[in-house]
């Protein structure tokens, strides 16, 4: 595995564990994954509540929220796992998130009537401290940094 993107080993056992489990769940990448997991939980739970209680008021917005939640879950899993396939899955889901937050963010600013209810991505993730906008960018940086580890695997 490449030296790039990994921390200086704090203890030998830790590094062995990380290598066994994933090439991406190392160093600061763990924090990224933890934030993904929290956002996945938050977005999915919220959309379940919205769909269960007031689906009729804004079906498109709520379905989009649910889709975003599911994509965050898949991205979290893809970042946790190792290998080429998961690496590709991580790329697809993270790019989808970036596209989603930019497109929906722009649309909600230009024409707020399109999204009568808030989604994770409305106004570039304003309701979530802009984390949805920041996270895919950090995710892509992280994927680029761990790329050589995947090719070696």
């Amino acid at each position: 595995m490449s030296a790039r993107g990994t921390e200086a080993p704090e203890s030998p056992t830790v590094v062995t564990m990380a290598e066994k489990r994933s090439t991406r769940a190392v160093g600061v990448g763990r924090v990224l994954i933890a934030v993904y997991a929290i956002l996945a939980l938050g977005a999915t739970a919220r959309s379940v509540v919205q769909i269960a209680t007031k689906f009729d008021t804004a079906p498109v917005a709520y379905l989009l929220s649910a889709l975003a939640g599911v994509v965050y879950i898949v991205a979290t899993v893809a970042l946790l796992n190792r290998g080429r396939t998961w690496y590709l899955v991580a790329w697809i889901t993270i790019s989808f998130e970036l596209l989603g937050v930019i497109v929906v963010g722009l649309l909600s600013v230009v024409d707020p009537a399109l999204f009568p209810a808030d989604t994770v991505w409305s106004f570039f993730g304003r309701g979530y401290l802009f984390i949805p906008l920041l996270l895919p960018v950090l995710g892509i940086v992280w994927l680029l940094r761990t790329r050589s580890a995947v090719e070696a695997a």
């Binding site: 924090v31 933890a34 929290i38």
Partner: protein, 122 residues
């Protein structure tokens, strides 16, 4: 929800979160201080569960969606144990940061719970 209790809880969660993030970035492994702070955040969340169960019965009902409130509260209460579990399984500086991030997320969720309970725009 009790307003002063919720405010105090947000302050504690932010303090615990900043403490763990700073110690983690400084390279500390998860120690008793960090895990204890996370335990305190969790303890207050459990107290909040009791408060939220009792409050409606004594005339202090949420002004917003009770379901939404509970989804937030249950999700928030899951975060510190998961982060602490992670810190116990994998002992390095980044798991200290993760405990901090979880506590900060709890603070944000508590703030949102406060809005649901006390403030309704619509």
């Amino acid at each position: 929800m009790i307003e002063w209790f919720t405010t105090a809880q947000v302050v504690v969660a932010v303090a615990a979160g900043l403490l763990a993030v700073i110690l983690g970035l400084a390279g500390r492994l998860p120690n008793d201080l960090v895990l204890g702070a996370a335990a305190l955040v969790e303890l207050l969340l459990i107290a909040q569960v009791v408060v939220a169960l009792v409050a409606p019965a004594v005339g202090n009902a949420p002004t917003g969606s009770g379901l939404e409130f509970w989804v937030y509260l249950v999700s928030a209460a899951l975060l510190p144990p998961l982060a602490v579990f992670w810190a116990l399984v994998e002992r390095n500086r980044w798991s200290t940061v993760i405990v901090g991030v979880a506590c900060l997320a709890v603070a944000v969720m508590l703030y949102r719970m406060g809005q649901i309970w006390f403030v309704q725009v619509a």
